[in-house]
Symmetry: D2
Subunit: 286 residues, 4 copies
Amino acid sequence: MSPHLGANRYGKDGIRLVLVRRGAAEDDPHDLRDLTVNVRLEGDFDAVHTDGDNSAVLPTDTMRSTVYALAQQHLTGSIEQFGAALTERFLDASPAADTAEVGLREHAWSRAEGAGRPHPHAFVGGSAENSTATVTRTRSDGLDVRSGIAGLTVLKTRGSAFSGFLRDEYTVLAETDDRILATEVSADWSYGAGAEPAYDDIRATARAALVTTFSEHDSESVQHTLYAMGAAVLAGCAAVSRVGLRMPNKHHVPVDLAALGIANDRAVYVATDRPFGVIEAEVLRD
Amino acid sequence: MSPHLGANRYGKDGIRLVLVRRGAAEDDPHDLRDLTVNVRLEGDFDAVHTDGDNSAVLPTDTMRSTVYALAQQHLTGSIEQFGAALTERFLDASPAADTAEVGLREHAWSRAEGAGRPHPHAFVGGSAENSTATVTRTRSDGLDVRSGIAGLTVLKTRGSAFSGFLRDEYTVLAETDDRILATEVSADWSYGAGAEPAYDDIRATARAALVTTFSEHDSESVQHTLYAMGAAVLAGCAAVSRVGLRMPNKHHVPVDLAALGIANDRAVYVATDRPFGVIEAEVLRD
Amino acid sequence: MSPHLGANRYGKDGIRLVLVRRGAAEDDPHDLRDLTVNVRLEGDFDAVHTDGDNSAVLPTDTMRSTVYALAQQHLTGSIEQFGAALTERFLDASPAADTAEVGLREHAWSRAEGAGRPHPHAFVGGSAENSTATVTRTRSDGLDVRSGIAGLTVLKTRGSAFSGFLRDEYTVLAETDDRILATEVSADWSYGAGAEPAYDDIRATARAALVTTFSEHDSESVQHTLYAMGAAVLAGCAAVSRVGLRMPNKHHVPVDLAALGIANDRAVYVATDRPFGVIEAEVLRD
Amino acid sequence: MSPHLGANRYGKDGIRLVLVRRGAAEDDPHDLRDLTVNVRLEGDFDAVHTDGDNSAVLPTDTMRSTVYALAQQHLTGSIEQFGAALTERFLDASPAADTAEVGLREHAWSRAEGAGRPHPHAFVGGSAENSTATVTRTRSDGLDVRSGIAGLTVLKTRGSAFSGFLRDEYTVLAETDDRILATEVSADWSYGAGAEPAYDDIRATARAALVTTFSEHDSESVQHTLYAMGAAVLAGCAAVSRVGLRMPNKHHVPVDLAALGIANDRAVYVATDRPFGVIEAEVLRD
């Protein structure tokens, strides 16, 4: 009847890293990277929990320091490659761990456009859209990489219907063949076996496929468009084997202008926060 | 090479329900319940995604209406029992679904203490602490209930150490035998086989065990105290078979007053937001 | 046509201070204070802006350090007294400033109740309700203190009407003599001339007056109840000369259960987030 | 000694309005506007507060309806013009009010770029940057318009120093001639007497002036750059008589890599959240 330890893991969340890469010459343009990194370790940490024996515990403060220590050398390309280097380091530094997982989120900055040229060292930020990656390394199975995009907010004012659905005694929703469809897409994808993927190129291709398909699809439901978007990523990105999509329905409700004595030519909507529909699905390559 | 649908589910998040129960007489005290409910359905929804055929889709708007429709009759006791009724209804209403999951979060209100008595119809709220439950029903396996508490914020100023940990070249953290330990506990627990548990009584017992153990434990690490807290819930609640705990480390860093020419008698700390350690583990009954 | 500097001020926001006061003996209970402090200076800072001359600028980093440096000696009683000491220091340290303003917000912790007694060094937090103060000192006029409460969330299920209001062609709101009234009260008050007020006692009295009056008042509108609450603070606190109240209307809308074929005995409500009414007013002593 | 009412106002916050303007032909491109609107009325509302007499109160629900009712006809150009129409309506509809204030915030959407052209009815959003306006109308003084931008996040990696500042015993900050300067600009400006300004053109010019000056300015402090940015708006926009700027200092702290045995070629920074400096000033035309 005594208790014992089940699944467990620990790590550090919210490690904020900004990296500036300056050229050799004084006037060379600077490059800017802005990441938030999370770290998790799993393994044999029983004695930490049951006996208060910390000898196997790499402190979470060290995880933070490690992200900073490896940045200059390893954050030279994709966030996926930086994550791979970090997981390798964490398994080396923590013998008790059998799995290291690093989550990365890159915050976009674009060069300031002042003075008629992209500025060499000034940047404009503020987008909610992030590049994401989850890099997992286990001693037994090696590296697993998932790439993604979060916060991609899209809306269309035509080409979206929702009708022919199941009705019961509590169903009051009207059918529609013309509604606003809006969502904040979170996408992540896995890669098939083979050479190291061109992570950044694939992300750009996947993003274009998501936006174009959302825009062009003749939508019968969020599910219907989500599936088409996932299929488009697979069609455009040969290295991708699986796409996961989460698309909350950011409802836009037509305002009842008739009650105000005004004709509503499908023009005035209220954007609501809560409650909201949530649609999640994976699309797989056969 | 054609795509196909993988795991998928859909539902409604953020359904806000406030229920007032009034007595038979004009002056009877009122009872107040304040919940946020999430709903998810899983099952055979392939044609929705691939063909735009909505005939199997119970709208998420109907999920919302159903929560309101069932509230008066079924939200008479624990949130777990309300969730069980909701999942039963959703499987009945959605033949294509094989799993219905309902997440419930109850926001606490206490009776206003004005005028020297607990007030019959005025309430004070504002606590970040919630009662939670996740109720899942499948056609094959029936009901699974997880109960919990979220947002339980605790802090102790004595009896917390962190030393003897693994060090590497990036470890700069000092060992300490006297630090502030603070966390916001999220706990959830599962029940063993047997009669329907007394959900509310168990939650009260579990909460007391969590707070008392956090307070009294001679802590060598967050992991060490987390495990003791989980074990205490198991010891106090015979019906509970598993406790999951998530305890972010709300770091309190001693201010370097020496740099300001002032002696620091372990008095002045800065509470930091990011980054923060995260410790997660399950404690199981043998 | 040349530009010149108008009103300006600068300072530091979000200084987080946790102070632990331990007794002389090992087992004495600890006291815990948890504050967020903001600082602002105003004065003759023209050359900083127009010429880039920083010689008059006390860095905002020094404001932060000063809050920590003065905590042990001056945070021994009310937040108002701590604020008064800070403003005195800032005017001494910054000759160019003629006004120093310190905003303080105290986050409440209560002693953990585990093991049948208030715990000597373990605490439970998590309330959204804060004690607040804004302390302003000018070289010409000396000290001005405003005290307050923020995040006081209250709700009543009886004794609230809203009817007889102005109607125009866009008014669709139904009159009601029985609605839920809920709000998150922000209150602040000023003191008349005289001896130093007993800040903490007055805050306790004011809070009780606010809660009791909200609970007992026969409300015709938020404005009506707000005014009664302000008047009650004045009636209960002789040292208070002015009360400012901000009371957003946290709307609770009855669900249209009739559309679902169900009778609604004034029981089921949806709590909405946006939009929300906002009522602000001051109540003054003649 | 009896209480009386002081300054008071009331209104509605968070009115969410999405307006779709479709062309005459089926395939004409759609225009999308997405606003959040706040409304405030001030005037003679004493009896509402003191007597519970609602006869002078236009309900805040009517304010919401009015924003929707006027959208099709009046939201045809700038948010300032829509605000002017709303304030006129509110003073007409509320005889007791002598001041109507409307705050408007427009959320930017850009046309989706899928399929090689700006899409006629699909949009991408997600920027934190908003256009803002505060339109105030009084019966005595007529219309006052303030325009602005909020959430303009900028960062530069060169050309920012902070040195030569005042030091006291609590000053530990090091001087620097090379730091990251980052801020989230909130700007608002007023107009001089004369013809109705070209609000949208001026906003575009002001934004360019803010970004270019931030980028190019040789900064001795946030204050120094703020002033130059405000002066640049005045220089570029003849119709503007006053610019107010609020620039929180989003601190980027160099990581102490030396402690990790690594040389830091000014490359690795931690972006911190709290505390943060805040600089606010107005720049006026002589």
